[in-house]
Structure formats: C-alpha cells, structure tokens
Symmetry: C2
Subunit: 378 residues, 2 copies
C-alpha cells in the first residue's frame, strides 16, 4: 500500500468516476454531434455537466468550455485573449509553466512581458504587480493557489485593482490548485478567465475547463466541428466531462471538511519536526490546506524523497507538471536562503490520506532528516 | 440492444481498454513527470505505448506525439508546420472540418488557400490537386480515407508527386478514418505528418496522435511543462495513451479480417436493395471496407435515420464530427445529382457488428425506403 502525498501533481481517480468513464466508453459511447436520439441524450449529458460545474463554482453554464486539461485551458486563456498586435502582459515567475511558457511565447512574438515580484512565501507582490499594469496592458495573469508553496492569492482584490487601472485588461487566474481546495465563487472573484483541471480533484487526466466571463470575447485555438460553441472544436471526451462535473461538485462540497482535516495533518507533521533544527515552512499564512511546502537546510529534497520511498511514502519536490526541468525559476523568484534552496519537499494531501499514514510520514520524515544530517556530519 | 452502424462517428470502447483506463485512474495514477520511481514506471508505460504504436504503423517511437484527439492532431499538424509569413496551402473540400476549418483560419490570416477538386465519389482529383502545387506551396493536405464516402486516396502517390513539384512543401494526411480500416505503413506512405484518433478504433475519446517524420521541424501549439518532447505540453492522459496503443495494435492486426467481414456486410445490404429503384452507392472503388455511403433519390437521409431508430438501428447521415452543421460543403464538392443530395445515409461497421444485425439493417432499410416512397406517392 502506497502512502501518496503528492496530490498537487495528480490524484487518484474516485472509483465511481472511473465507473462513469467505463459506462460512457462501453455503453453511452455515442458521438454527441451525431443525429440519433441516443446522441442527443449524450449531448444533454454534456450540457448537464456544464450546468453542474457552473452551479458549483458560481458561474453560468455558458461560461464553461471543456478542454483536455489545465495546460490547454491555460493556453486557450492566454492565446485566445490576445487580439491586438501589441501591448504588454503582466505575469509573475510564480505562475505554473503552462502559463509562464505560454506568455513567454507571446513575448517572443513581440509582446512586452512584465514580470512582477513574488514574496518569499510564494504570494504575488500585489503592489509590484499593480505598478506594472498600465494603459497598454492587454493581459494580467495571477494564479489563485501557487502549486509549489500553496500560497493563496487574493484574486478578487487583484482583479478589481487591475480593472481599476485599466478596464480593458483581460484578467486571468489559473485555478488548477484552487478548485476543491479553497472556496471558489467565480462571480465573486470577478476575473475574466479562470482555469481548472480534472486530475487534481480525483477525476481522470485528459479533461479540464476554462471559465470565460459573460461579455469576454475569446478566440479559439483549435478549429473544426465547432463544438463548445466554436471555442474548442473536437469530439467531446464525454465520459471525462461527466466525471469531471461530478468531481468538481464533490470537491467543492468537501472544501470545509478537507480544510479541517488537512490542518490537523499539517500539525502532525510540524510536531514531529519540532526538535529538528534548520528547516522552514515555505508558506504558512493564506495557504492552501492541501499543500505543506518545507525546506530543510543542507539537504537535497530529491534525496529525502527517495528515502521516504523505502517506506512507500510518496511526496513531491516541486512542480511535477514540468517534464525534466527543475523548478529553479520559482525557487529563484521566492529568494529562498541558499542553504534551503535544494531542500524543498512538497507534501500535499487528499481525502484518501488517513491520520495514521500522516503520522507514519511525519515520523519517517523526521527520522530521514536526522539520519541524513548525521551522515553529513560523519 | 442497439444495432450500431455509425462507427465512423465514434466507436464502442473495448472492455479490456476500459479496464486499462480504470487501472491507470485508480491504481497507476502517478504523474509521469513527478520524481518517484512509481512515476518513472508510468513514464516508461507512456514510452512503451509510443513504441507499440510506432511498430504497428511502420514509424519510429520518436515520431509519435500524443494529443487529445484527431482534431488537436490535425490542428497541430497545420498550425505547427506554418513558419513562413506567406505562401499557399493546397487542400480539398473533402477534408474533415478539423482540417478544412484550421486551414481556412490560416486563409483568414493571409495565406492563399487553393481548393483542389474532389471526384464525384469523394476521391481527391489528383491531377487538379497537383496542378495547384507550386514553388510557394507551404502545405499540402490530402486525407487518407474520406469520412463521408470512405474513398481511399493514394497517399503515397500524392506525397511523391507533391514532393517532386516542391520538396519544401510539408505534406499532411489525415488518417483518422484509415488506421485500423486500411493498411497503414507510414514509412511507405512517406508523408511528413499523419494524424489518427483513439475513439474511432474502440479506444476512449480524449486521445489521439500526430506522426511527425524524422527531420520535419514541427512547432508546438500549447506550451508548458515540455511533455511530448516539447511539442505538446500538458500532463499526459496516461490511461488513454496506454489504451490507445493497444487499440492501434489490435485494429491493425484485424485489418484483413475486418475487410473480408465488412465486404460481406456491404453485399448483404446491396442485395436487400437490389429491387428498389433510384439509389446509388456514393463510392464503390478504392473504398474503405468499413464505410458504405448510399444516396436515395427524393428521400431525406435524416428521415430514414429516424425510421431505422425505431428498430434500434443507428446509422449516420454524414459527418458527425461537426456540431450542428450540415455537410453541405462536401456534398457540393462531390456534385451529387440534385435528387440524391438530401438522401445520404452513411452505414459504417465495426467488429462488434454481427451478420444477423446487418441482415436486420438491410431488411429494415429496404422496407423503410419503400414505405417512404409509397407515402410520397400517396
């Protein structure tokens, strides 16, 4: 039995959602765009999924466009909102690579990129961010929950302040690590664009969504049969979409319960480490209950991860959504003290974690840190 | 029990492939880009899937890029191959909407579109196509198997002839209706780019692939963690990919068997119709064994489809991959005689069809046509 604490990277699919995938694969497999009444039913199921998600997140059904995941949703948000031939884009180095690299691509196409500062705990430096917004700002990207430290940004405040400086600026928040972890009401947050993904909340990989506020004119990136009101052509991954709607609904309902639970888990781990010197919590205020990012001085996070694996405990070192690249961009941005830079361990919880396995993790983590330090001294 | 004859629109997922989706969702759910040895195993599974597909289609593993489906693969082929600021693109009106509309988007961005003719049975008019290729042609799109009539184009010949006229032209063939229906060896076909999709061959919706020949420099459309060697960022839909590789391998192995079987099915249907006047087979030579496109004079295909539904028989009217739009572009292109234009019925087979249900379809189709004609006279 694996003790899985890397739920920021991806999560286990719920059994009942896996069953939905099976049913829509082997029984209700009809193409929603075909002409039969069977297809019409499937098309209605997609519609119902859209409504379920909208209700759960305080949006209207027409706001939700299904994509193949968070990366596509983020790319659709960014490339689909750029209309003018020039202008600047305000973003932070804390953004997920699917936002940062998409925006960088726009940079290489001639748009001006303005990189706002990140505070040492991973929060966006709001003042610095706003100082970079001006009349020529076409897009402002501020993620909701940081995927490395769990820092929760004040999306409502950022959105209002950006719009006050320039109400033509399109505001986009990456909510991939927020939905189901912190309260999300899209009408309250007020942003123009908001993305989220299935596989972070116990649904399958291969499905995500982009919220587009009423009145915001978004352009498609992929063309074809005109599905998703023309914004995202391609045969809908119906099973994934139906399961996703259930996953969003479930996750939103459990936000309070998980917060209570995960706060306790964090405390268990911090207690176990209290007699060990030279470590830090990378973000402790306004932080996602699901993420505990720690740094141990003079220790390599990678080594700790592999030591814990001996006990079938899986934790993360940083963003997993990045193939073969270290998260140096982010670590640089938060200006971790040098001794702590390589010692980052990211622990992230899901509803499948039990208090017992958190205790096991806490004990083995403390033990491993002590043992590594001893080896270094020896 | 539904008698499903719209397998060009989408297919039923095999039970063992649905089980793969379940296992990768609920057990092997690790993120292939994360750091644990569990993730490494998943990453190896993606690698193995790539190799399985390459072997089945006569390619190298490095040639295969996984996407969210045929539409994304086609869009990646088209937008990812356009580098110069100008030039012309040669295409036919017979192409699937995900090719035609993507190319049209390039047209609206200033590239010159050259529309080559389609023969009355849906085949590309090779002579006309080649006459449109010149020194300024940056991209030539010629689908392998037409999704409406089943016409099989000579991709190898088209590729060679295009390259002879201009060896800098990127050649792209949409193989979504070809893989598993007709023999496909990518090295033999010789094209630069070739697309195919899971849900047409008993795998899940939400997964497809683009083949990119060695030496062809393709640009990404979506940016992020650098997955798929940087060509398609985003957490891999691992279960879908593993199931897809199995689906391609299975389908390719059964090409000959299905051809034999489906030819018999077509004959059963044609026999049942032989005493009925005024109908035509829209494509009978060089045609996919899986597709039988018929036109009945003075009858609406849509009405026939709904009559057959009373017997739980599902057939298609035309392309289902197009949301709420009639396939007028294609019908216009093949110049069907006016009386036959609205009477198109597309019957398409899969390995799940039995001889008995084909006989039922044949009988009910003949019966329905006679009954509709009688009503019209009365």
């Amino acid at each position: 039995m694996v003790h899985y604490f890397d739920n920021t990277a991806t999560t286990r699919v719920d059994d009942d959602l896996a069953e939905i995938l099976r049913v829509y694969g082997t029984e209700k497999f009809f193409n929603p765009s075909a002409r039969s009444t069977y297809s019409l039913q499937i098309s209605n199921d997609v519609k119902a999924a859209r409504e379920t998600i909208s209700r759960a997140l305080g949006a209207s059904a027409g706001n939700i466009t299904f994509t193949s995941g968070g990366t596509e949703a983020n790319n659709l948000a960014i490339f689909g909102s750029v209309r003018s031939k020039r202008g600047n884009i305000v973003v932070t180095a804390a953004e997920h690579s699917s936002v940062y690299n998409a925006v960088s691509e726009l940079g290489s196409r001639g748009y001006e990129l303005r990189l706002a500062k990140v505070l040492p705990d991973g929060h966006i430096d709001v003042e610095d961010f706003l100082s970079k917004v001006d009349d020529e700002t076409i897009l402002a990207c501020f993620m909701h929950v940081n995927n490395e430290t769990g820092a929760v940004n004040d999306v409502r405040l950022l959105n209002q302040a950006v719009k006050e400086k320039n109400n033509r600026t399109v505001t986009f928040s990456d909510g991939v690590q927020a939905v189901g972890k912190v309260p999300v009401n899209l009408r309250y947050l007020g942003v123009d664009l908001y993305s989220f993904a299935g596989h972070k909340i116990h649904c399958s990989k291969g499905v995500g969504a982009l919220y587009v506020k009423e009145g915001v004119k978004q352009l498609p990136l992929q063309f074809g049969g005109g599905q998703e009101r023309g914004l995202r052509s391609g045969t809908e991954y119906v099973g994934g979409i139906v399961a996703f709607s259930q996953a969003v609904s479930n996750a939103v309902k459990r936000v309070d319960e998980c917060e209570r639970l995960f706060k306790g888990y964090k405390q268990t781990i911090l207690n176990a480490l209290k007699d060990i010197p030279d470590w830090r919590v990378n973000c402790s205020d306004n932080v996602s209950p699901a993420i505990l990012s720690l740094s141990f001085a003079d220790i390599k996070g990678e080594v700790l991860v592999h030591m814990l694996e001996k006990y079938e405990i899986i934790v993360g070192t940083g963003s997993a959504c990045s193939s073969n690249s270290k998260s140096s961009r982010f670590v640089k941005a938060i200006e971790l003290p040098p001794r702590f830079v390589e010692g980052v361990v990211r622990i992230s919880f899901s509803k499948y974690n039990t208090a017992d396995e958190v205790q096991l993790l806490a004990d083995k983590l403390a033990e491993s840190v002590l043992s590594l330090r001893k080896t270094m001294l020896g």
